[in-house]
């Protein structure tokens, strides 16, 4: 008889990566196409990170929001199992509804989360090209009271000049965690960089120095954004009009 024999379970630790995707009417066309394309392409990379990471496995969950909200699947899936179903655009921007729905799932009771022991804080990537059309403050207030959300890595991708960066900043709690993009290629590249970086850092046991995981992700994503044509880095997001880029979604 051993202490770690077959009667004892040592489950692999888990980190869940959430995509919150604005699928309102303004995303129609190339923007939503780029999102679909980028997520499909990044999933195998997330699987590589998950399979080669001794610290934790990575699960993925995706919530689309327009006039309503919809989870792509009713539970997070391992990165290797996640089959992306192309999302389509149409309707309004119920960000408040999405926040409330996410808050409900960032829980053990009827939610997606497991015991805090053995879990890593989730990573949440919000993509939006406009401003909320519902009472987002109420939904966000619920989310901000949630312990998992408080601990999460939160990054927002502001798609184009019409994205409400103040709202996205409110969501992430940090203006530097809002990455504006202005063309299709930049959108695709930033989705990849944010998803990969969040997964790599979020699923590690140890952190580098005293930086929080969120700060590490921001730093790495900002560094990457400097080299992506059409993506703004922190120093150019102070004001809406300070970007060196002009929107090009043709």
């Amino acid at each position: 008889m051993g202490l770690l024999d077959e009667t004892v379970s040592v489950p692999r630790r888990t980190m869940t990566l959430f995509f919150l995707i604005d699928t309102s009417g303004s995303m129609e066309g190339n923007k939503i196409g780029a999102v679909n394309d980028a997520v499909v392409n990044v999933l195998p990379m997330l699987n590589d990170i998950s399979e080669t990471n001794p610290d934790a496995e990575i699960k993925v969950a995706a919530l689309e929001f327009s006039s309503g909200v919809n989870w792509l699947y009713d539970e997070p899936k391992l990165a290797k199992d996640f089959i992306w179903q192309d999302v389509t655009a149409g309707g309004l921007t119920s960000l408040g509804g999405a926040c409330a729905e996410l808050a409900a799932k960032l829980s053990r009771n009827g939610g997606f989360m497991q015991s805090a022991s053995g879990s890593f804080a989730p990573a949440i990537i919000l993509l939006s090209d406009g401003g909320p059309t519902d009472n987002y403050e109420a939904g966000l207030a619920k989310l901000k009271a949630n312990n998992w959300f408080k601990s999460a890595i939160k990054i927002a991708i502001a798609i184009g000049d019409d994205a409400d960066k103040d709202v996205l900043k409110d969501f992430t709690g940090n203006s530097e965690a809002v990455i504006p993009v202005h063309n299709i290629d930049a959108l695709k590249q930033i989705i990849r960089v944010v998803a990969v970086t969040s997964s790599q850092i979020g699923s590690k046991s140890s952190t580098a120095g005293d930086m929080t995981k969120q700060d590490q992700v921001i730093k790495d994503v900002q560094d990457a954004a400097k080299n992506i044509d059409g993506a703004d880095s922190a120093d150019s997001t102070a004001t809406v009009d300070s970007s060196q880029y002009i929107d090009d979604w043709g």
Binding site: M1, G2, L3, L4, D5, E6, T7, V8, S9, V10, P11, R13, P54, D55, Y73, K77, D81, I83, Q85, Q114, S115, A116, S117, G118, S119, F120, A121, N147, S151, S205, S206, T207, G209, D210
Partner: protein
């Protein structure tokens, strides 16, 4: 007979940069029947670069303070008291806790904080920056040793303590980690010390907090009932097991080994398995400290096995329910499968999940058979 044991080991993630084990643990059973178990977990961030010393000093201060407390406290304040548990208090509630036990504990906790601060100040004043610190710690934190008048953060740690006397027992906790107690009556196990919701994921309350005195949670009992065993484990332990039931299951394995193979063999296993557990689990430093009554554990060993069997039965039941739900889902999808891409994907998932669930069910059945055989042997022993 009351016995004790404690062990700490370096976490897997600390090996790469040769970071010392920042946990410390202690256990002892004294001639007068006093038994003490302590686990302290030094914080891992760069700023807490002497937390290994802080946790070791905390165990020293606590063991001495507890001995003095038990020698001097009027034990009648505990006698006859049923099990009582008190949560950490917010600043508005300080005046609420005024029973003699609350007042006595507050003095004990104040004494621990004060003496720990004295010890770390002395250490900070007398211990030069080491080569390892020079190489690994940012200068701004090293400077705090010279410029700051308080050193709590550099030495920050959590603490968890169980104390048993012949007349009463108590436990207190500041920070994360888990305390599990096993009982003869009622539920086999419980976590007797209230949890503090501020301890979540990698955040914890700490002995180095400015408001540490109000962050202690505690419990006590003086009505003659004592746990059969109490296990203290640092967060490296519970992070390795995830669900509490898995952690409890591990401690039950320890109990079974203590009874079946004796203390020496159990110690050997713990000392070889905990580093392995860190490697496959949390990667963190690992500590356990426990106090147990071997005679009571021997009598109740069938209860422990029965609990494990019930746990496996529950798992089988849940798996069966999941398979049934997934089969229902497959049936409902069946109608639209030819026309709907989403339905096809959902059906594939359901089939995959059913296969996984069936494999898990087979593993549970093997566990069940194993435990059932163990229980049968115990019943045979009892009949003889």
């Amino acid at each position: 007979m009351i016995e004790s044991y404690s062990y700490s080991c370096q976490g897997e993630s600390h090996k790469a940069d040769n970071k010392p084990c920042q946990d410390a643990s202690f256990s002892a059973v004294y001639d007068d029947g006093l038994a003490i178990a302590i686990v302290c977990d030094g914080h891992g961030g760069e700023r807490y670069f002497r937390s290994d010393v802080g946790s070791r000093m905390a165990t020293e201060v606590i063991s001495e303070s507890v001995k003095t407390f038990v020698e001097n406290v009027d034990k009648t304040i505990f006698i006859g008291k049923p099990f009582i548990a008190e949560e950490a208090i917010t600043s508005e509630e300080v005046v609420k806790k005024q029973t003699p036990v609350d007042i006595a504990f507050r003095q004990l906790f104040s004494s621990i904080i004060y003496q720990w601060n004295q010890k770390i100040a002395e250490h900070a004043a007398n211990t030069a920056v080491s080569e390892w610190e020079q190489e690994h710690v940012p200068q701004k934190y090293l400077d705090e040793l010279k410029t700051s008048e308080s050193f709590e953060k550099l030495y920050g740690c959590t603490l968890m303590v169980y104390v048993q006397t012949p007349d009463y027992w108590f436990a207190f906790h500041l920070g994360d980690g888990k305390c599990v107690s096993f009982h003869q009556d009622g539920a086999l196990w419980q976590m007797p010390i209230p949890w503090d919701e501020r301890c979540f994921l990698n955040k914890t309350t700490s002995l180095c907090d400015s408001n540490a005195i109000n962050e202690f949670r505690y419990c006590y009992e003086g009505d003659g009932k004592f746990p059969m065993a109490v296990f203290l484990g640092s967060d490296g332990m519970d992070d390795s097991f995830g669900e509490d039931s898995n952690l409890v299951n591990f401690y039950i394995q320890v109990v079974k080994m203590l009874v079946k193979e004796g203390k020496e063999a159990t110690i050997k296993s713990i000392e070889s398995d905990l580093p392995q557990l860190s490697k496959i689990g949390s990667k963190d430093d690992m500590s356990v400290a426990f106090i147990y009554n071997i005679d009571e554990l021997k009598v109740h060993i069938p209860d422990f096995i029965q609990y494990q069997i019930d746990l496996v039965k529950d798992a089988i039941h849940q798996t069966d329910e999941r398979i049934s739900t997934l089969n229902d889902k497959l049936k409902s999808i069946g109608i639209s499968i030819l026309s709907d891409e989403k339905s096809r994907i959902e059906a594939d998932y359901a089939r995959q999940d059913i296969e996984r669930a069936k494999k898990n069910r087979e593993k549970f059945l093997i566990k069940y058979d194993l435990l059932d055989q163990q229980l049968s042997k115990e019943w045979v022993k009892l009949v003889r």
